[in-house]
């Protein structure tokens, strides 16, 4: 089930607004790819373009090197941002229906529905109407709707929005499992730091353009070193402001986040901190994705 989704030069304008501006990136199989960017960056438009739900002014969507058509799309799974299920339809019947629309036999659709509802812990709600479910359970059913036909590509628009930590873990586990099984998984989020643990690769966009893409580990460890230093009784990290080559990125509840230039020796920072008081924390930190994003734009 190896596949490769390629987006080439996607451009979409809505009147004066340019939602996508020559956006190109690819989604390989076997990894969870986080598709990140602030609100209005063009994430939803990109995902809709994969399913032909928005017209493109320019650009192409390719699957395994060929243009995507209706037959290919039937092997994709989609979870739209604003969700999309019949509110008054029974959960089980709805999933079977969607399975059959994706060319499954009635028997296979029923079996897959049962399996996914069990896997996501909502098997007892198969006979309920969707509208009777809690937000978290609706989200699980929505995910099941994207998965029921065993798609080769999974495109999920903000699948974690509004979920509690248990829900995030449950859905996160499924995404990782799908990727391990050889599926292409692309999911979007505007909360960059929330998804750091979940995805191995991220693509960050803004104003319809690619900002940065790469492995999370590489992005987090590249660039300047970062230190978190906490000095008892110190609230504003004024001791750090005078050290040459040290930039105070933020001070949060007494913990100062420092960005060190190449030339700076971390020992000199420790000495300065000890001079200000008793050092209770001194840790090297990875870059967070929000910092990667901010620095890439700077």
């Amino acid at each position: 089930m190896e596949g490769l989704l390629e987006l080439e030069g996607l451009t979409r304008r809505f009147g004066a607004l340019t939602a996508l501006d020559g956006l190109s990136f690819s989604v390989p199989a076997g990894q969870v790819v986080g598709f990140l960017g602030p609100n209005g960056a063009g994430k939803t438009t990109t995902m809709r373009a994969v399913f032909g739900l928005t017209d493109l002014d320019a650009g192409r969507v390719k699957w395994n090197g060929a243009a995507v058509g209706q037959a290919e799309r039937r092997r994709f799974g989609y979870m739209p941002e604003e969700r999309g299920l019949y509110p008054a339809m029974l959960v089980g019947e709805q999933l079977e229906y969607l399975g059959r629309l994706h060319a499954m036999s009635a028997h296979d659709a029923a079996a897959a529905t049962k399996a996914w509802l069990e896997r996501l812990g909502v098997a007892d709600r198969a006979g309920s109407k969707v509208e009777a479910l809690s937000h978290g359970n609706q989200q699980r059913v929505q995910l099941a709707a994207a998965l029921v036909h065993g798609p080769e590509l999974l495109v999920l628009d903000e699948p974690l929005a509004g979920l509690d930590p248990t829900g995030i873990d449950a859905i996160g586990d499924v995404l990782v499992e799908q990727a391990r099984a050889g599926c292409c998984v692309l999911f979007s989020s505007h909360q960059l730091d929330q998804v750091e643990d979940l995805c191995e690769v991220v693509t960050i966009i803004d104003h319809g353009r690619l900002v940065v893409t790469g492995r999370v580990d590489d992005l987090a460890t590249s660039g300047a070193r970062r230190l978190v230093v906490r000095v008892a009784g110190d609230r504003d990290a004024s001791w750090a402001c005078d050290i040459a080559g040290v930039n105070v990125s933020e001070v949060d509840g007494g913990a100062a986040r420092l960005v060190l230039d190449e030339s700076v020796d971390s020992d000199s920072v420790l000495r300065a901190a000890m001079g200000a008081g008793r050092v209770t924390e001194f840790v090297f930190e990875r870059r967070r994705l929000s910092e990667v994003f901010r620095e890439a734009l700077a």
């Binding site: 809709r48 399913f51 032909g52 739900l53 928005t54 209706q70 799309r73 039937r74 994709f76 989609y78 739209p80 604003e82 969700r83 999309g84 299920l85 019949y86 509110p87 008054a88 339809m89 019947e93 079977e96 229906y97 969607l98 059959r100 629309l101 994706h102 009635a106 006979g127 709707a145 994207a146």
Partner: protein
Amino acid sequence: MNGPIILVILAVIVALRVWLRRRRRSTRSQSWAPAGLALLKGAVGLVAAREVRERFRGKVFRVGTLLILLVVAGAIVVPVLNSGKSRPQRVGVVGALPAPLRAAVVASATSVGTTVHLVPEADADAAHGDLRSGRIDLAIVDGRELIVDKAIGTVTSTTAQLALSVSKNLGLAEAVESAGLSATQVAELAGAKALPVKSLQPGTAKGAAQTTSTVGLILVFIMLTQYNTWILIGVMEEKSSRVVEVLLAAMRPVQLLAGKVLGIGLVAFAQAALVVAFALGLAEAVGSDLLRGTAPLVLVSTLVWLVLGYAFYCWVYAAAGSMAERQDQVQSLAVPLSLPIIFGYVMALIAAGSGSSSTFFKVLAYLPPTAPFAMPVLVGLGAVTWWEFAASAVVSIVCTVGMARLASSVYRRAILRTGRRVQLRELFSRMA
């Protein structure tokens, strides 16, 4: 007479309820695709099957069907109860009633459209008692006196008409007798025939055909309005719930649209077929005029135009539904769309009621938006030939094809545009 009719109605209602409940249980437990739609492969068949299943399950459909059946039952049963035709008038006879007078009574009954059953009464008191208890409708005492239970006010009831006619004929018989005419002369007088009356303008259609076309009109109106509203709201809800994005990721817009229109159409025709079968069965059971004269023709043409009317309007409503995603936006679309339907309906009701058709009304019978109402009425009035009927149907089919193409094009452009209501202008400026 009332007892059996009420029993028939109750039996049908109970049977319908049991059937629907069983159906519901069976769809829940196992196969979910209505059998007939298994033939329709692919996305269109799946969409249509879902519509059929969900609609049959809905309360609106079940309650609506029951209401329609009640209305139809009323329309069939009430005229039967009102007309005395099926019930002979019971006439009590006190003393002797010579043969010529007896013949005069029978002839009077025929002239007012009923039959008589003569009941011998012992004396005037016994006749009075039977009149009061309702065992007899009219008493004749010694061939010279007529007695009814209540004073005759209006002459609408069969009994009143019969009493007036009998009194006139008996009076005439008495006069003939006192004039001392010969047997031949009496026979000649008795054989007198009424002169035919010529009219300058054709008469108006009355009776079963008229009732059928009026009831048919009401049904076509109710069903077109109901099923088109389902399409409008159904399309709007798919858009507003965003389920359309999931669906269109797997199929083309035209497939979703066609499946929806087909599925709801099948529900409509299933309901129409049930209503017609019920109407025919009930008419047979109570001996209604529905099965006589031109009424069956009117019934068939009403069904044909229900199909043609639905086929024409369903596309319009689907396209409108794709332009809205909130209830208030739907309202602003539904009102102008319903105007031609209401106009056609009212014009047809007027024509069916007056029993005559104007040239303007005949024109309406050729325009696809109003033809579903106007044409069956013309059939009921006997004011249309088969080829005129066929020509109007062809016009409607051609326009329906054009409408379907236009509506698919609007639907495809509007269904994925969210936010404010889509304006037609925007869609067509993009089409250019």
